[in-house]
């Protein structure tokens, strides 16, 4: 018994990219697989039922991933384990500093709301224009800009606090 060709193609064509986007959103390998799994099955049904063109698959899948992420994160927010532990700042050194900065940014991204994180991932990781993000999230472009602005503003103090710096340009 072989996997349905449509689903195979969906995974083969878009699986890696979707999983990377999902991982950017969730910061968790298992959760990323869950999100992509659900997105694949939802779009799989649409492909079978409505005959989506292959060139549209990724857009539908990405939308499904975003929606699934936002939906499940809201559902699970009450069960998440929070911690007040922050990573130890590393010793001075340019490479370590760079790695530390990125680690702090990554951690700060994880502290954002699901919609803020979705906007930043779509904008900075996927390179999606704000008006397309608005269409994906079902909101106005001004809301996207606002979410991005607030997300960035929320990250700065988190990064500054972790690094012990007062300002970050």
């Amino acid at each position: 018994v072989h996997l349905d060709d449509v689903l195979t193609e969906l995974v083969a064509d878009s699986g890696d990219r979707l999983l990377r986007v999902a991982y950017q959103l969730t910061h968790d390998r298992g959760a990323a697989q869950d999100v992509v799994q659900d997105a694949l099955l939802r779009v799989y049904r649409s492909v079978r039922r409505r005959g989506l063109a292959p060139e549209d698959w990724y857009a539908y899948l990405r939308r499904a991933v975003i929606n699934e992420y936002v939906r499940t994160r809201r559902l699970r927010s009450s069960t998440e384990v929070v911690t007040d532990m922050v990573p130890e700042p590393p010793a001075a050194g340019s490479l370590e500093d760079r790695a530390a900065d990125q680690a702090q940014l990554w951690a700060a991204l994880g502290e954002l709301s699901e919609r803020q994180r979705a906007v930043l991932v779509l904008r900075y990781y996927e390179g999606v224009a704000d008006h397309e993000i608005a269409a994906l999230l079902g909101c106005r472009e001004s809301s996207v800009r606002s979410l991005a602005r607030r997300g960035l503003a929320a990250m700065r103090p988190l990064v500054a606090a972790a690094s012990g710096e007062e300002d970050l340009t």
Partner: protein, 231 residues
């Protein structure tokens, strides 16, 4: 702002390698794929039952607990089911009290909501077998036919069961309607810190009975699971 945004881009890119790979997902999908055009309809109960049976079969290889070749329990049977609870290790109920799928108690002290079993290794696992026939008019009250405490590879058991895909809304179960032996299993898991959980699955000739912790068709897991012989 631009420098900060560039740093964000770099931070995101630096974690690319940590993301799961599609080939793993595809391999898992192929392992659980049912016949064409029925993927979304019945792969879950099939996969769950096969998963648990695979775990049981692999874990009890050679001890003849499966099916009607069950051996007597190795130690005295408890008079009544002992519910799983924090700090109380599960023990096999003397009888499988209801129609499958059934479990003696709800999860206690562990997150039982998101997956069939939590993605952490239990400290102990107990498997209880209840042999019968799917043609039996009364499919409740089957006596304990065998039990084994698993002593190794509990991480492997976790890996298989926690990867089980959850059931989707609107899914239906299809049965082949083939009569034959049926064995209901209960797996009692104890976790470090005292959490406990029961999982049930049925080795059934027509694969009609889904695995569950709660009720028929309520497979609340969310992961692809690699079917096959346990490691």
């Amino acid at each position: 702002v631009n420098a900060f945004e560039d740093e964000i881009r770099r931070a995101m890119a630096s974690h690319d390698d940590e993301a799961p790979r599609a080939e793993d997902l595809l391999r898992s999908l192929e392992r659980v794929a049912p016949p064409r055009r029925r993927l979304a309809d019945w792969y879950v109960p099939f996969a769950v039952a096969a998963a648990v049976v695979a775990v049981v079969a692999g874990s009890l290889w050679g001890v003849r607990l499966l099916g009607h070749q069950a051996v007597p329990a190795a130690s005295p049977q408890p008079a009544s089911p002992q519910p799983a609870g924090r700090g109380v290790a599960p023990s096999c109920p003397a009888r499988y009290a209801r129609q499958a799928p059934w479990v003696p108690a709800k999860p206690a002290g562990v997150d039982g909501r998101s997956r069939l079993v939590p993605a952490k290794t239990p400290s102990s696992a107990l498997i209880c077998g209840y042999a019968g026939s799917n043609l039996a008019k009364q499919q409740a009250g089957w006596a304990l036919s065998g039990r084994r405490a698993l002593t190794g590879n509990l991480a492997g058991l976790t890996a298989q069961l926690s990867w089980q895909a959850r059931r989707l809304p609107g899914q239906q179960f299809f049965c082949a309607g083939v009569g034959g032996p049926q064995t209901n299993y209960l797996i009692g898991l104890t976790y470090p810190g005292g959490g406990t959980m029961w999982v049930t699955a049925t080795d059934d000739s027509d694969e009609c009975v889904p695995a569950s912790r709660t009720s028929a068709g309520s497979v609340r897991t969310r992961r692809w699971f690699p079917r096959g012989r346990p490691p």
